[in-house]
């Protein structure tokens, strides 16, 4: 099942990337997608069925908007830190707990954290993410967990679990 899903995804990607519908181009695309699906299929998501439910895509679109907004806001903040003459940074590595179970959800949360400026995921061990943070604003684990991952976690739970 997941081999078929990966094949379809790779083929759509090929069509968008080459952007013409000659018969020769389509044949090359099918061969390339088949090879991709056979080689990398075992690394793909195990359970494909939940990703056919439409409400997940609805949440995905809302999440994209929230993520873009957070990203822009935090980007201006990092630009401010960089341009400030005294550079008021307080970097450190903090441990953040998360309540996600599946691998794909964990990966997406780690990617989201890395993409919002000011935080980089260093490692994931079981239920804990280690995050390098450019400005450690509080010492309380509850508070910074909320600040770093809380705003994304509930959406990712709805989309990927």
């Amino acid at each position: 099942m997941r081999y078929i899903a990966l094949f379809i995804l790779a083929f759509i990607f090929w069509l968008l990337l080459t952007f013409n519908i000659d018969i020769s181009n389509i044949i090359v695309g099918i061969v390339a997608s088949l090879i991709t699906a056979f080689v990398f299929g075992k690394y793909f998501i195990k359970d494909v069925i939940p990703f056919l439910q439409p409400q997940r895509y609805f949440w995905l679109i809302i999440y994209l908007f929230i993520f873009t907004w957070e990203c822009i806001k935090a980007n201006f903040y990092v630009a401010y830190l960089v341009l400030h003459p005294a550079m008021p940074i307080k970097p450190g590595i903090v441990k953040v707990k998360m309540g996600l179970k599946t691998n794909i959800a964990k990966t997406m949360l780690a990617n989201s954290i890395t993409m919002t400026p000011g935080t980089i995921t260093v490692d994931i061990i079981n239920d804990e993410i280690y995050v390098h943070w450019i400005y450690v604003s509080s010492e309380d684990p509850e508070e910074y967990s909320q600040k770093i991952s809380g705003r994304f976690e509930k959406y990712i739970k709805k989309i990927f679990e």
Binding site: V82, L83, I89, T114, I120
Partner: protein
């Protein structure tokens, strides 16, 4: 449409510039990666969106939009790999650092 495209491209170049300033000003590897990966990724995404507005739904415009998720995933994974690699290799955190929870995990 062309004007919107140019505005996006200008914002992108500005953020790339901030990212480069951060790369030279910030103190250690980890902080430099912060600005190098993020300001630069957002800046480049913004340039690509500007290219899409400039060309519309033609070949170049669609390709610019497809490049955004590719750039996004490769940049995040590369940043993560570089940070973890630097830590395991033994690069110290900078003098200004206030907290290091990861130390206990790597020792044991």
């Amino acid at each position: 449409m062309e004007i919107i495209g140019f505005i996006f491209i200008c914002i992108g170049i500005l953020f790339n510039f901030f990212g480069c300033i951060g790369l030279t000003r910030l103190p250690d590897v980890y902080n430099r990666l912060q600005s190098a990966t993020k300001c630069v990724t957002l800046g480049t995404c913004s340039i690509l969106i500007g290219v899409f507005f400039h060309f519309g739904f033609t070949e170049a415009g669609i390709k610019a939009i497809i490049a955004i998720p590719l750039l996004f995933f490769s940049a995040t994974v590369a940043a993560h790999a570089l940070v973890k690699g630097a830590y395991i290799f033994g690069v110290k955190l900078g003098d200004k650092s206030v907290k290091d929870d990861y130390k206990d995990v790597t020792k044991s």
